[in-house]
């Protein structure tokens, strides 16, 4: 993995030298740019590769405020797009860029993400997407997530779990009902809304025995050539 970010994302796969040249002016980040086409969940099943949109201003952490926020259409195909690293969308007249990241820990530190881009991390909404590639259909699994603060999650376009209020990230805080991962690509999408201060999230799948699921690979959309 390489330090994040590259302020101008021309290609998903870059060299260490290139990355070093674009080192963040901020303290050490927990994020790096992916350097392989796909990866695997970590030993505890956490998904460490995501593509994240630069933050959108947002306020309110109650159930109704969060639901209203995430159901607002900010950009076209918001609930279906598989963004590529470097893609951009326009939200409220502002150009926002998708960034592919690998996290060094079990969680994705959105404060690091925003701070290294010079973006705000308080009172904002982050969209994040990843692709889970399954070698076979897997039934009876659950998406288990934690976030600071509220978040809503979709798997293959279906909303599966939401947690609300001003809260800290706890592993497996919210757990979905049993669902089926199909053979091939499965799109996991989340919207994390932060109030003030630190912000991060974590996610993994649990199998039917509630053990971490690891029989899949993870990828994100590659940058346009």
């Amino acid at each position: 993995m390489k330090p994040f970010p590259l302020l101008v994302c021309m290609c998903l796969f870059v060299s260490h030298a290139q990355a070093a040249e674009s080192a963040s002016p901020y303290p050490a980040t927990s994020l790096a740019r992916p350097d392989s086409p796909e990866t695997t969940p970590d030993a505890a099943g956490f998904i460490r590769r995501w593509i994240i949109l630069e933050p959108i201003g947002c306020n309110g952490l109650t159930d109704s405020a969060v639901q209203a926020a995430v159901k607002t259409e900010y950009f076209p195909n918001q609930f279906s797009v598989i963004p590529r690293d470097g893609d951009s969308v326009t939200v409220g007249g502002t150009n926002l860029v998708w960034h592919a990241v690998d996290t060094k820990g079990y969680n994705v530190n959105l404060y690091h993400f925003a701070h290294s881009l010079g973006k705000p991390s308080s009172f904002v909404l982050f969209w994040a997407v990843t692709v889970v590639n399954c070698p076979e259909e897997i039934r009876g699994v659950r998406l288990a997530i934690g976030s600071n603060a509220a978040s809503v999650w979709w798997v293959n376009g279906q909303e599966v779990v939401g947690i609300y209020g001003d809260r800290q990230t706890v592993i497996d805080d919210g757990v979905s009902r049993r669902l089926t991962l199909r053979k091939g690509q499965n799109i996991v999408r989340c919207a994390v809304i932060n109030g003030g201060g630190a912000t991060d999230f974590c996610a993994r799948f649990l199998d039917a025995e509630e053990k971490p699921l690891k029989r899949f690979t993870v990828s994100v959309g590659q940058a346009a050539k």
């Binding site: 934690g146 609300y164 919210g174 757990v175 009902r177 049993r178």
Partner: protein, 491 residues
């Protein structure tokens, strides 16, 4: 006066639920299960039968009638030990009769006599009645304690296959001045439970169950203060309480998965005209001692997960008790510490003055979605969507000790139910389906297990289970996990 009235209202709201049906019996044996039914036998040939352990009816008297029998299954035989005085006390004998089934309608139903296994001659310091059987789970040996005042409680070894007296087994004195003794094993200790006090005087009966323990089955059985039961010791296990007076004749009912209950009779149920009645209650363990639990009382509770410390709630947006208040600004802004003089925001730490009443569910529920609503776990904040009312459901059956309950948000008809996917949901109303009926068992650590009578699409018994910090599901009960353990707190 107002205080007394309020206390009365609370007590009546938390109503205890007694066994249903014909439950009059004296000196009941240990409960035993045969072909899916529960049986118990009492003094004078009485027999009670139940399909579920909740609703009882009169059964058929065994071939030998006597005093305070006990029963145990040995292989494919049900062995009933029946005592009788031979003339005046304390001359007595305990006889063994056995049957391959306890169902009188079975073609195999036939009592066979096996003879005397213990006796007293009327002179010695023992009255050979009130047998209590224990199959030692460690050694496989079969033990019987017996006796009733007139001297000692005695222990003899029986043949674990035939049920007859083990040749050469001489009686060992283990306690004195009590009766209705029983022996159980738990976690490296043998526990002798015996009934002190007087029986057979209705609501004036001083019966109470006491216990001592020993590392060796032969004793000495000491109570928690170190007094030997052979010198009159015994830690109180269960005395009179509520509307029930004079408990006696302990019998262990082990339901598996770490769920234990016990049977006894009360000399007087004040709600049944002072009749002697059967009861079944949870058996708890604390600091190495058995403790009598209580079946769930009807009432309103917070349901807190042992796994997460969070509480079950309807997944709706909560309204803070007393209404929303602005969070105090600590950032030095107006009104905050170090802030300028222009702060007009009210200080949330000073309160609003006076008593903030409990939430009125009819008001806060106006924004709740109609129809089915998911349930989840959240920090308990005394809000309406977190208060669950347990109400016994009549004519819906039950399980040992209790009826099925419906569980609704207090003041509403929103009903906790298992859904067709084996998950949980709150229905808009109670319609009586088995997925809306809940079995609530107190576990040996005093926490509770909550199970639907039936979950759709599966015959597997499932229990309310915390998954993650904020989610709930139904899962097979794991006695070694906290996920299916719940604490009920009065809100």
């Amino acid at each position: 006066m107002k205080l007394i009235l309020a206390a009365t209202i609370v007590l009546s709201a938390m109503r205890a639920v007694a066994l249903d049906g014909q439950v009059q019996i004296h000196d009941p044996s240990t409960l035993i299960r045969c072909d899916g039914k529960y049986y118990t036998y009492g003094t004078g040939g009485s027999c009670l039968v139940s399909d579920d352990g909740w609703t009882w009816r009169r059964g058929v008297a065994p071939a030998r009638r006597g005093m305070a029998p006990d029963i145990i299954q040995l292989g494919d035989r049900y062995c009933l030990y029946v005592a009788a005085n031979l003339g005046a006390q304390p001359k007595a004998a305990i006889n063994l009769i056995w049957n391959r089934t306890l169902d009188p309608n079975s073609p195999d139903y036939k009592w066979e006599e096996s003879g005397v296994v213990a006796s007293s001659d009327g002179i010695e310091d023992c009255n050979a009645i009130d047998p209590g059987l224990c199959l030692d789970p460690v050694t496989g040996k079969l033990w019987m304690v017996y006796g009733s005042y007139f001297g000692f409680i005695r222990l003899v070894q029986l043949d674990a296959k035939t049920g007859l007296r083990e040749p050469g087994s001489e009686p060992v004195n283990v306690a004195i001045n009590c009766e209705a003794s029983d022996l159980i094993y738990h976690d490296g200790w043998y526990y002798l439970l015996a009934t002190h006090g007087s029986c057979c005087r209705g609501s004036d009966s001083g019966y109470n169950i006491r216990v001592g323990r020993a590392r060796s089955v032969l004793g000495p059985y000491l109570d928690h203060t170190g007094v030997d039961m052979i010198q009159g010791g015994g830690k109180l296990f269960l005395g009179s309480g509520g509307r029930f007076i004079g408990p006696g004749h302990f019998g262990l009912l082990d339901l598996g998965d770490g769920v234990q209950k016990f049977s006894c009779h009360f000399e007087a149920d004040l709600d049944r005209g002072g009749a002697s009645v059967l009861d079944i209650r949870p058996l708890l363990w604390k600091d190495g001692w058995p403790v009598a639990g209580e079946n769930l009382r009807e009432g309103t509770y917070e349901i807190e997960s042992v796994r997460t410390g969070t509480a079950l709630e309807l997944a709706v947006e909560g309204m803070p008790v007393g209404g929303r208040r602005a969070r105090r600004n600590f950032g030095g802004g107006p009104g905050g510490p170090g802030g300028g003089a222009g702060g007009q925001r009210p200080n949330p730490f000073t309160g609003q003055g006076g008593t903030i009443p409990p939430q009125d569910v009819s008001q806060v529920s106006t924004n709740w979605p109609a129809g089915n609503v998911p349930v989840r776990l959240a920090n308990y904040l005394c809000q309406s969507q977190q208060k669950w009312t347990f109400s016994a459901v009549t004519n819906a059956g039950g399980y040992p000790g209790s009826p099925y309950f419906r569980i609704t948000i207090e003041g509403t008809d929103r009903t906790l139910a298992a859904d067709e996917e084996g998950e949980l949901v709150a229905l808009s109303s109670f319609t009586g389906g088995p997925e809306q009926l809940w079995r609530v068992d107190q576990l040996t650590d005093a926490t509770w297990r909550v199970m639907p009578k039936a979950a759709l699409k599966t015959a597997e018994p499932l229990a309310l289970s915390a998954i993650g910090s904020s989610s709930v599901t139904l899962a097979r009960f794991d006695p070694n996990s906290d996920e299916q353990r719940w604490i009920f707190k009065t809100p």
